[in-house]
Every structure is written in C-alpha cells, then in structure tokens.
Symmetry: C2
Subunit: 489 residues, 2 copies
Amino acid sequence: MLKDFAKAAKPSKEEIDERLEVEQARLAANQLRIRQAKVPVMVIFEGWGAAGKGSVLGRVIKDMDPRFFSVVTLSSRPTEEESMRPFLWRYMVQIPKEGQFKFFDTCWMEEVTNGLISNTLSHEEYDNRIDSINMAERQLVDNGYLVMKFFFHVSKKEQRARLDALSADENTKWRVNEDDYVENEQYERALEVYGRYLRDTNRSAAPWYIIDAKARKWATLQVLEFLNMGIEVAIHNRGVAAPLRQNVFALKRMPPLASIDLDKTIEYDEYRAQLSELRSRLRELHNVVYRHRIPVVIAYEGWDAAGKGGNIKRITSALDPRGYEVHPIASPEPGEKARHYLWRFWNRLPKAGHIAIFDRTWYGRVMVERLEGFCSENDWRRAYNEINEFENELIEAGVVVIKFWVQIDSETQLARFTDRQNTPEKQWKITDEDWRNREKWDAYEQAVDEMIAKTSTINAPWHVLESNDKRYARIKALRIVIDAIEHAC
Amino acid sequence: MLKDFAKAAKPSKEEIDERLEVEQARLAANQLRIRQAKVPVMVIFEGWGAAGKGSVLGRVIKDMDPRFFSVVTLSSRPTEEESMRPFLWRYMVQIPKEGQFKFFDTCWMEEVTNGLISNTLSHEEYDNRIDSINMAERQLVDNGYLVMKFFFHVSKKEQRARLDALSADENTKWRVNEDDYVENEQYERALEVYGRYLRDTNRSAAPWYIIDAKARKWATLQVLEFLNMGIEVAIHNRGVAAPLRQNVFALKRMPPLASIDLDKTIEYDEYRAQLSELRSRLRELHNVVYRHRIPVVIAYEGWDAAGKGGNIKRITSALDPRGYEVHPIASPEPGEKARHYLWRFWNRLPKAGHIAIFDRTWYGRVMVERLEGFCSENDWRRAYNEINEFENELIEAGVVVIKFWVQIDSETQLARFTDRQNTPEKQWKITDEDWRNREKWDAYEQAVDEMIAKTSTINAPWHVLESNDKRYARIKALRIVIDAIEHAC
C-alpha cells in the first residue's frame, strides 16, 4: 500500500490556503453536528517519526472548540502497569464518549510495528495483534463510533532532513529520540512492515488514509478533507443497523434451563467438610495465581435471590483480600452509557495475578438491556458475537474466565422474596423492581437460554449452578474455580 | 507513642474466640448501617513489615459483604506516573464513595516514614508531608468520611522471627523483600521515626489505634472492637456540622465586582497584533513547560455568556495539543457526587509538563451548590478554607495555578442571551437554565464577591477579566498566563 501509494496532485500555495480556511470552518461546524448527533469520534495519527503528526494536529484542531475534544499521547511501549493487562487494554480505556473527538497521537499500530521491526514480537503474536485490532475497530464502528486512521508518509531523505533539523534546535531536540534515527537507518525494513500492517488492517469499517506529509499545510489539508468527509458520511449513516456476523467460536452444547435438575442437595455435615477442604485448596492456589501472575475473571449472573451474594462470599472468604476485587454492576453511569457498552468492563479488568469477581456483568446487554429496550434489537443481536470476541481477547491474554449462571426455579424465588419482605434485616435486599422483573420470568428465561446457547464457547462456557440448595451451588462453584485455576497453573 | 504504648491485657484464648465471633457479626451489621447512612469509610493499616496486616485484614472482613468493600494495595514508592503528580494524588484518587469501605494496606504513612528512614526525604519535606496528610484527613472527616488508622506493632525479635518463618516457606517467601530485613536491622531508628509520625498525625479527626500485633487473633479482635466503636460513633455523629476553621493563608485584597470598570476596550488592529505576538510567546513557553516538567492549572469561572469559551480557545490555540487538556465541568456524575467534592478535580490534575484548563471548577461548591442548596450551609462555609488548602497543595507541589473570573454586566449578558436565542447556530449555547440563573444575578454576585474575597490567596489570587469587550479579556488572560509561566520557569 505504501510503495504504490498514489499521491494526489499538490495544489498551488494559494489554493491550499484557501481550501484550508474552508475546511477548518467546515470542521468547526461538523464538530457541533457530531455533538448533536452524539457520535463518538476516534482519530488515529500514525506514521514515520518526525513526519509532522503533532504540528498537523495543531492545525487540524485550530477552529475546534477545545472543550469537546482531547488528545491522547501514548508511549510506544506499554508501561509495567499497562503490560499487566491484555494488549488492547491501554487503548480501550481511552475511547471517547459520544459527541466527543479523541485524537490519538499514535495508537495500537506503533506498538505492533515496532515489535515486528525490533524482532520483539513473533509473527504469530503479530497475527494475533492484527486480529485484536481489526476486532476492536469493527466493534467500535458497529457500536456507532467513527474511526478515522491517518498514516503520515515521508521519504527516507525527507525524514532524515527533518530529524537533523529538529536535533539542531535547542527547543526541539528533545522531540527526537534514538528510535527515530534507527527507524531512518532501517527505512526499507520499516517501509515493508508498515505496508504490511496497513494492508492487514485496511478494513471497510475503518480504512486507512495515507497522507503525503512532505509539506505541512498540504498534509493538514488532506487530513481535514478526509476527516470532514468521514464525519458527514458517519452522520448520514447514523442509526443504520450493522450486519450480524456469523459465530466463529466453537460452542459447547448446553441444555435449556427448564431441563436442569434443581433437586440436587448436599447434607450439612458434608457441606461443612467440603467447604473447609475446598477453601484451603483455593487459599493455596491464590498464592500460585499471584506468583505466576495469572489474571482471573469470575462472572456471576443469575435470578434475583438465587444466592449470588452468598456464593461470591464463599469464594472470597478463601482469598487474600489484597488480591481480589468484587465489582457490583448496576446500571451504567452517564459517562459509561456514553461509550461502547464493554468500556466499563475493560476499565475493571484485573491485572496479572489478581482476581476480579463481577456481580452481574457485560451480559446485561442481552438480558436487561434487551428486555427493557435500553438498546436496539440490532445491538443485542450483535452483542453475542461481540461478547465472545471480548472474552476471547481476555483468554488469549492468559486470563482465566469463569462464568456462572445461578439457577433457581420460580417457586423458590417467590419463597425467598417473601422471606426477605418479612424479615426486617433482609428488607434492603428486595425492591419493587425485583417484583416487576419477576413478572417477566418467561421472557427472561427465553433470553437466558439464548444467551447461554450462543456464548458458551469452549474456552469460556457457562456453568449453571443449581441453587435451590444454596450450599450445593457454593460447593460446585468452588470446585469449578479451583479446577479452572489448576488447569491454568 | 510507641515506646510507652500501653498494651491492653490479652484475654484468654476462649474469650478471644468468643469475642471475635461477636465482633465479626457486629461488623456485618454495621456494614449495612454504613450503607444506609451513606458514610464512606477509609480504614488504614500501617505498621511493621510482617506484622500480619494482610492476615488480620482477611479475618476482619470475614463476615462482610464483599460487594461493598475493597482493598487498596499501594506500592511503598510512587511509580513514575504517580510521581508526576502532587504527593497526595495517588491516595486521593482512591478514596471510597459513600456507603463503602476501603481498606488501605498501607497508605500515606509508609511513603513518608520510608523516606525519612532512608534519608531520601529532607526534614523540611517531611514537615510538608505531615501538613498535607493532616489536612487531607481532616478534610475527609469534615466532609462526612470515617477515617480509622491502625498501626500494627511488633517487637524487633518478633519481627525477625516472622521474617525468617516467611522466608523459609516456598509459598510465602515472595512476601518478604529486602526492605523488610533492613527495617528489622534498623529497628530502633524506625521505631523513633514511626513514633514521631504517629505523634505528628494523631489528631482528633482521625486518631491512631496502636495494635499489639504479636498474636493474630488478638490483633484481629483489637481492630474489630475499635472499628465497630468508630463506626457507631460516626453514625451517631452524622450530620453534625464541622467547625469552621480560621483562614491561615495570606490574602490579596480584591475590589467588589460592582466596582470593576467594564469599559475597557482594545482596538481591532491592536488586538490582532498583540494576539499574534502573545501567542508566539506562549507557544515557546509551552515547550519550556514541557521540558522543565511544570504542571499548570488554569481555572475559568464567570457569568454565562461572559466569553469563557472564546477566551479558553485563544489560550489553547497557542498550545501543542499533545500537552494540554480542557475539562468542561458539568454537574457531577453519581460516582463523583458520592465522594468528597474535590475528588473529581484530584482525578483531573495535570501531570508534570502538562496544562489542564478547567471550564468551571471546584468553586461550584461556593456558587451553584451554595445557591441551589446542593450542599449544607456548613459545607459551603467550610469550603473556602478547604479550597485554599487544596490549591496550596498544588502550589507546594510546583503547580502553576491561575484563576480567572470572567466578568460582564447584566445588560451585556442580556444582549448576548438574546443574540444566541435569535441566531440558529448559537441556539445550542442557551438553555432555560441560563435564563433561570440570570434571575438570581444579585444572589450570585454576592456569592462571587465573597468567594473572590476569601480565596484570593497571595499564591493563587483571582484575576478578573473585564469581558464586556471580549478581545480585551482575551489579551489580558494571555498576558497573565504568560507572566505566571515565565515566573515559574
């Protein structure tokens, strides 16, 4: 893509100035339209060192309202803290919210191409990164994001001249680092890697725009024209449903909830004995998890009053409190609602060696959001695949993912609701909403069956915990967590 | 405090077990009361290495609902990212929200005492840290927090025995690091430093509880009894107004708004010439700010339609977009409202070398929150001093703090509102709320006069920008920013 890059003819100086003024004003107007249309915009600048990304950025935003955009500058290598999370993590936590622009002064490309050039990333890892990036960009676009990617291209000679000029000036020499000169010396090799990356990630959801970056103003004009076009198309497209993708993950066959045998029980003495034994084992394993730097995610979903809280407590009581966190998930806060629905979960991922337990999860998308109409039909239908992809990202990064559906029957729920209502110390646990949700039992059951069928991937299947007898469910959960961690160690 | 520490008599094994069970159940009940009373609880564990903080913590939380507490584990030294912010920053961003417990497995004590023991912190710096910590703890308590501080005390011999035991076991040896052995070798010196710190920070708002940590269960029981008592007192005290503190900061005398001459103007040609010159100067200075790692905070307050947005833009247009961020401040999100009102600003502090511009600020506390009754009278009256302290923390950490009040008269506002209403492209800028606020002009003016009088500290005075002529205000703002940065370089 880079070697045969078809440059547009550069206009005259006067024409550039004239068109620049028009495009800057157009962008200011488009910024307002983006705010009103509530589209989140992610603009990615990548390219050769010293190609002028920073100064072009300064000109691009010239007429924009600085309160509604921001600039993200990421280091080309992850920090220690960042490297304890999946590859996409440090980027995904930065995505803009609706109506806002975020400019990324290098994003996920640089880390990957640097890795390949310096031979610190294997070809297999490279391929995995490309899959992750394509997945992330497509998911963002499918969920209403506009993602615009610009590659700033300069020749070897031009790059060298700029590096020398920057180094010669006291005020700018800090902008040049050794990597930039290395890149220039290995220009041909880098050209090949960049070309390959651009080809590998040039998808219809977010195509590449290659910018002839030799002259600053001309480069600015190219960016502005593409950006304005992109915005206008995005506003026009808004609300158009994204196509549903075929499932590509191997699935485990799961029985429908109605066929689950809920009569399973455990005797009290047996329960105490097993609980004590399993806890000791989990306590030991938590040490191993920490030492081997394994991140663990445990996701709980289930009926109201199914016993999620008590079940979680039997897990945490075996853990060192410095090594886990429980995230109770309620309805999203405004800043969370204004972003990709998985953002708030990206934000809560455990670092290597830690355990994150979610009391309700990202599956809200295909349950409460589906049934209450908080998202469109296209949104929740797409979500099965998006969630499988999200979990696959975690698994590829070495995260142990364990998902529990805590199952009871409708009569048991009624008995527990009534008990809560009648016991003063338990009344805080029951709300009118619980009673309203109960009326929708059948619709929920259908949604849950569909969810379990479509998201029980081989690597992260659902585990149904039969919880009419809460003790039985606790013992089963402990066993599953222990098995999964032992398997990973 | 440590040498003459009066140990409580240790009860018999049976009595400890019995009381432990009572206290754990009491804490579970108190956790629910804390949720209902919406009190945020910060529990700080400090003490000797290997004194058993972690395992006591595990026992303390045994019967708590793990969804409503969490544990913060901070490294004893700030990371590179953390060290680019004021000392308190990495702690303040972690404070709990109302109804929640956060356990800090070491907090601000360890960093400071380590610094003194290793001679990396001067005595002057130590004194400053103590002031910061006392300020932070008092502000938290005054704003409804419960802060409980426990110091785990063991003898030199006991510590040594524990370190050896931990090191001997494959599963636990990673818990011991070299610092722990150094601490043991320098026990007497550390004892002196810890004793001094405990004395220096033993204030009525958040006194120290010294725990005889020789036996695990007994230590747990001591913590539980103090914690339960603390919770019960805090719930009892809830809603009691905190005393107003005397102002201790030197203030600059400021004229009332009504006496400001708003007829100041600048000719268009003169404006263009000065704008261009001042921007070039600011552009150069931004480089220096980056290279010298100076953090800058620019705060904007002012009447609706006074011209804040345009003024901010004239500043940002001279800046490298990778080195600043504009934070538009609207009403707080739920997670922000549930914490100390300054938390969301701690969260947005610029790192060294960056500029943060706030479009509306922490002064909302003494303007809109005061006038709309979003906080109590005691809250906003206390806030003048709290804000002066907050800004003082920034200034002590080397942050350049610049505060603008953008001033217009009531007739000018009316003219601008009417213009916005009548111009389609400007209509998004005007809401019914703006008109409602306008009706309260006199009350606001009185509040602003009080605010400016009480928070114009010598190091961070208000600058009033006469903005009936917006151009005049822009030039004045640019000059003030340039002066302040030049002064700091």
